[in-house]
């Protein structure tokens, strides 16, 4: 194979650039432990109402004994239930979400809270909201003709005004 000296130099440049990208990605993944939501856990989407975790009275915001927050949500056409939730800023929040019907996606714009919600599977994602404010939590995967209307509201409040004690019932606001 004939490789022109200029080509050879370009190939080195390309490999170096790609190498730097790959290093950055493996560094964030392995050293900083940043991964996309990848939680293989199955659930029967047809009987969420009977499940331990996603029955209607179990949905909402739970303060855990260690002070972190767990949020259980059901995605169903056309909303994320409960429709309104409140969360503290600067606190680790783990969302667990199941779909009751079709494919959905959940995203809180301007934050890194996002995951697909696939029927038959539980999605789990952990994040921290740095800034208080009102955020829309919207569906970002086509799920039917009402897709445009599928959104719920998240209010992030200052950490100080959030009760630290664990709760026996989910908080819905």
């Amino acid at each position: 194979m004939h490789i022109h000296p200029l080509e050879r130099r370009w190939i080195y440049v390309v490999l170096a650039v790609i190498g730097i990208f790959l290093l950055a990605i493996f560094y964030t993944a392995i050293a900083r432990n940043i991964h996309p939501p990848s939680h293989i856990e199955t659930i029967d989407s047809a009987s969420l109402h009977l499940s331990e975790e996603f029955a209607e009275d179990k949905l909402g915001v739970w303060t855990q004994p260690d002070g972190t927050i767990k949020v259980t949500l059901v995605a169903a056409r056309y909303g994320f239930y409960p429709r309104e939730i409140q969360l503290p800023a600067g606190t680790q929040v783990t969302f667990r979400i199941a779909s009751a019907d079709v494919l959905h996606g959940i995203h809180i714009p301007m934050t890194n809270m996002g995951t697909m919600v696939v029927p038959g599977y539980v999605s789990e994602i952990t994040t921290t909201f740095p800034k208080p404010g009102e955020y829309p939590m919207l569906c970002n995967e086509y799920c039917g003709l009402g897709h445009d209307h599928m959104w719920s509201k998240v209010t992030v409040v200052a950490k100080e005004s959030w009760p630290a004690a664990p709760n026996a019932q989910p908080v819905r606001r």
């Binding site: 194979m1 004939h2 490789i3 022109h4 200029l6 080509e7 370009w10 390309v14 650039v17 790609i18 990208f21 790959l22 990605i25 493996f26 964030t28 993944a29 940043i34 991964h35 996309p36 939501p37 990848s38 939680h39 293989i40 856990e41 199955t42 659930i43 029967d44 989407s45 047809a46 019907d101 079709v102 494919l103 996606g105 995203h107 714009p109 301007m110 890194n112 996002g114 995951t115 697909m116 919600v117 696939v118 029927p119 038959g120 599977y121 539980v122 999605s123 829309p136 919207l138 569906c139 970002n140 995967e141 086509y142 799920c143 039917g144 003709l145 009402g146 897709h147 445009d148 209307h149």
Partner: protein
Amino acid sequence: MLAIEIRKLALSHFAVAFGAFALAAVMGFYQVLERSDLIPALQSPGVYFASVSTHGVLMAYVLTTFFIMGFGYVTAVSSLKMPLWNLKWAWIGFWISTVGTGLAALPLLLGRASVLYTFYPPVQAHALFYIGATLLVVGSWFWCVIMIAMHRQWKEAHPGEPVPLPMFATTANAILWLWTSAGVAAEVLFQLVPWSLGLKDTVDAGLARTLFAWTLHPIVYFWLIPAYIALYSFVPKAAGGKLFSHELGRAAFVMLLVLSLPIGFHHLYMDPEQSAGFKLSHGALTFLVAVPTLLTAFTVTASLEMAGRSKGGTGLFGWIGALPWRNSMVLAGILAAAMLVLGGFGGLVNASYAMNAMVHNTAWVAGHFHLIFGGTTIIMYMATAYYLWPHVTGKPLGSSTLPLVQLWSWFWGFVILTTAWHILGLLGQPRRISTVTYNSPLTFAWDPYILTMVVGGTVLTFSAGLFVYILAKSYRQPETAPIQADEIEYAESLDPVTRVHPLLNGFRVWNIAIAVLMLVNFGYPIAQFFLIKTFGSVAWGY
């Protein structure tokens, strides 16, 4: 001059491709208008999602597949200088694909298949949609077989000689398409068709998404490779130069074939049904597939630079001005490269294992693929159509200025449209919405970009209309003036093409490499659905 039966064959394929394109472009215009909420009477999610589904299917599957098949037949006979092997099969393939397109179009246009071009279950379309789409693909397999057979026959007749680069690349694409379409074919045949006919009650949405991801990445290279063929074989020639290196070109096509297949999980980064380890493995290989594109950028730029310098261009950038910008092939090549640079940058963001979360399923994504696919890829299809048109119709192109206006407006339309979409995406606007209902101050920031989107869409629709007009007008002129060039000419290589390494002249070893990589990256991720207890989903309307 191409033989009359090849002209007819190619022209039939191009007619379906560009007819579908024209219809889809009008729908694109309706979509930007509907989404802008400027005309309240237009508001209708029912019509909108029927339209986006049809627009996506026509642009992504019909325009591309038919153009690629027609171009492939022309490339095979003109670069190998041998008659088409099995004209009958070519026509059978054409008709199967055409009937499939018609069958799928019926439910699409009637709003009975508003499932978008990705048709993710458990939202269910009319069975005819899945069957029609399958036939479209099955017809294209005839093309694949013919390309592979002609490649082999030529090699047998010319032992030890290198297969001409355009045919080598076309064969790579045929093999790529066979591998690529296997994923979606399995999804449709084993899951969606039986389920939509009521033979199966449920479908596993996670498995379906995994099989679709098998197809979803390499399919974009199936679309892109013909554009690269034009960049390697037509653009340097049109600029009055030679191809800098055909060997690196061959290496690039081999890499595109091998590396684009085992990386589909970058479409599933945000999905719960696959694990982080496999996503990372697909993600790492995704970055490697940038290598052949960067090699292509080098070779094409170097070829153009030599052409520019031979025309008297001097200095670091002077050669760019010396290029024949009024040649439609050269112009398209330059504009395609410009869009590829912009879109490639966005692609790096999408491909990033962690950064993807910011832009996933936002308008950024629609911006990204309109730029690279609608822009880079389709602008090269357009220039190729202008170049081939006299050869397949036997009549000269009606005008030499109008194509330039058309190509420039295609470029600017996409720059405007996709800049707006990229920004909207960063501002959090999701893709695939027909209107904005979120009651949040955030959406005020979207308004100016939504208007920009309408401007871009309008320019593009004008350009699409002009494209079809130029071709139709040229075709319909009376048969008088003789056409200038009677041979389709491919760029020669700077150093003579006498021998190449067998690895760069055939695909046996590469097929084995693909099989191994696919087994590693897809074997367990598919098998897991049969190893763990999963729950299928019943069908849902929309």
